[in-house]
Symmetry: C2
DNA sequence: ACCCACACGTGAGGC
DNA sequence: TGCCTCACGTGTGGG
């Protein structure tokens, strides 16, 4: 009952990193490898390397075990079982995640498209407002993304008149800066052109 | 040199499903378990169960190996190594997929929100057109989703007048069915209410 | 007492 | 030849 209780799998942390070259103490089996006069019993040359090999295998088993979160037992067989079920679980997880990702991927697809024909006209009005007329292809969600982007940029559409001709939006609206910021005509024009391009 | 070459890991498919109870042939070791007179050498009772245990372990090892796609060697140690690296790879994959999923998750979040105050008014016009007035909270992307959904349902917005008062959309538009379908006033009204609710 | 899980040494086969 | 890998039987400790 000294400290011989944890040597079911006779590997510890020492077996992982450093073997510490101690073939010395701590052998589970107290088999008679020594004659009663103290002389060693003959061991085939394999014995040593074979012991090392088994230690390597157990080390690998331990590494495998350390990777698996859900552990039932410390026995070799249950380590295998846990690892197996864990791999299956991980596989399922990857599978479901990928298809879940692909399911919402198409919503991002409209980013990559041929450049639509667009027309942007910007005129300065009184106050700090701009009058804007835009024509661009009627891509699904185009107007929404336009508004989102403009909102992100601090452009507020005050009176928007949206007409959907077949295959195109026609939008006329007033625009003003949200924080009372001054708006430059050409800047806004190019901005809107860029926005519409990436819609 | 008969057929003794594949018994490195002396497990086959038979070890997986059915053990086929054949303790008979095919033992690798030709150790002398029989005396020269043909009588069996004494074996401790452990021998049989221990052999079974090792077969179980090898079976598990084989199952583990069968789960791992990339296999370098058939040796025990490389099976361990492959399984270990494979688990790590799967872990990384799951990790990256989940965070990639979470990165585009927020765009879906506006599905779950408190019910906004809405107002929908529908009037019948000449021909098969309806006049619609809608007021609902100015949630980001609301108008886009409205148009998408209406498009999906075969409702075409002919002349849309969109006004963004602070915190709300005010939309007046004519609507007609895309395929020349007849539109019922109350049906369209409830439809629009439902659409706006889920926006 | 029994059973189980393990490490060990050993002989055999493959490279 | 030698080295590596494996299955086998055995002894041992824990439950």
């Amino acid at each position: 009952m000294e400290q011989e209780h944890d040597i079911r799998l006779s590997l510890s942390l020492e077996d992982l990193g450093f073997n510490a070259e101690n073939d010395s103490n701590k052998r589970k089996s107290s088999k008679k490898y020594y004659n009663e006069d103290g002389t060693k019993v003959f061991l085939s040359k394999n014995a040593g390397s074979e012991r090392k090999r088994k230690q390597r295998l157990n080390t690998k088993l331990f590494m495998l075990w350390s990777l698996v979160p859900m552990v039932t037992n410390m026995t070799k067989e249950s380590i295998f079982n846990d690892a197996i079920t864990y791999i299956k679980k991980l596989k399922d997880e990857v599978k479901s995640l990928t298809q879940e990702l692909q399911a919402m991927e198409p919503k991002e697809k409209f980013k990559e498209r041929a450049e639509p024909k667009i027309e942007v006209q910007v005129e300065k009005m009184d106050g700090n407002k701009l009058w804007v007329k835009m024509i661009f292809e009627n891509k699904r969600g185009g107007f929404k993304k336009l508004m989102e982007t403009m909102n992100d940029l601090g452009l507020e559409m005050i009176e928007a008149n949206v007409t959907t001709i077949k295959g195109a939006y026609l939008i006329t609206t007033f625009i003003k800066g949200m924080g009372g910021q001054r708006l430059d005509v050409h800047q806004v024009k190019h901005l809107l052109q860029d926005i519409i391009k990436i819609i």
